[in-house]
Subunit: 132 residues, 2 copies
Amino acid sequence: MKYIEKLRNSGLRPTKQRLKICEVLFNTEKTFHFTINDLAKIIKDKLNNKISLATVYNTVHAFEKKGYLKQIPLNSNQTYFDTNTSDHHHFYDLTEEKLIDLKDSDVGPINIKKKINGKKIKSIEVLVKLDN
Amino acid sequence: MKYIEKLRNSGLRPTKQRLKICEVLFNTEKTFHFTINDLAKIIKDKLNNKISLATVYNTVHAFEKKGYLKQIPLNSNQTYFDTNTSDHHHFYDLTEEKLIDLKDSDVGPINIKKKINGKKIKSIEVLVKLDN
DNA sequence: CACCTTTTTAGAATCATTATAAAGTACATT
DNA sequence: AATGTACTTTATAATGATTCTAAAAAGGTG
């Protein structure tokens, strides 16, 4: 399995649960956005494979810490994650409550002129809200 | 009182509670960021004036709907609001968990090249995360 | 296999937010 | 000023996402 090494190299034991979650998250052509509940639902319904909700939370947070997932800043009662960890931005369709990827080139360069003493820029994220 | 008209014009009855919250939010030189709990605490501790938490929630949401407040997209367990409703962006200091305003001119023009059929851009928000 | 550490798990706990429904208030009309 | 009605406030309960707990299970090393 191709994810065993990836996990070991990150200092995470390749457990059945983590490998299964890797399959769901990373074994696809396209990247996608999801909430913890989305993910738990996919595992239960599509894969007929019960993983405890606590484990799904633990794993997603572990993957995020390792840089395999990104949180998307958004005002929602649920936290959204993105399997696309490259620099890019989002449309958020307020009517349909759906996220849409914006390629970096769709936004053009962003140049932050202000500097804060002793602080480094870790990420720049643009959220474009859409209406009808 | 200067807020009575403002409220009436928005179709909101100028109740004691709403006027008090207006004082806290809008009767200051500088704009600021806050959570519901911050606001409830200010009312209770600094103003010795108990307003039910439900009312604080209702009022803040009413003000947001009328455009007097903006939500700040951020991954946090609490919702952050901004009394500055003009176009501007934010630094988020991950270490101190603090928001810092970025003037529009600190960021430079943002030109979204991609269009979505039948959708209008309602807002563009940039979040710059800071590290040590 | 034996040992030790990490991980999983079910269920409880937490905490922000929303819903409920009863009491209070604003305000237009008389 | 009294009345009626719709809007507000309030305390409290309900909801729902997330985190905690501590016991059982699994991974990995010798």
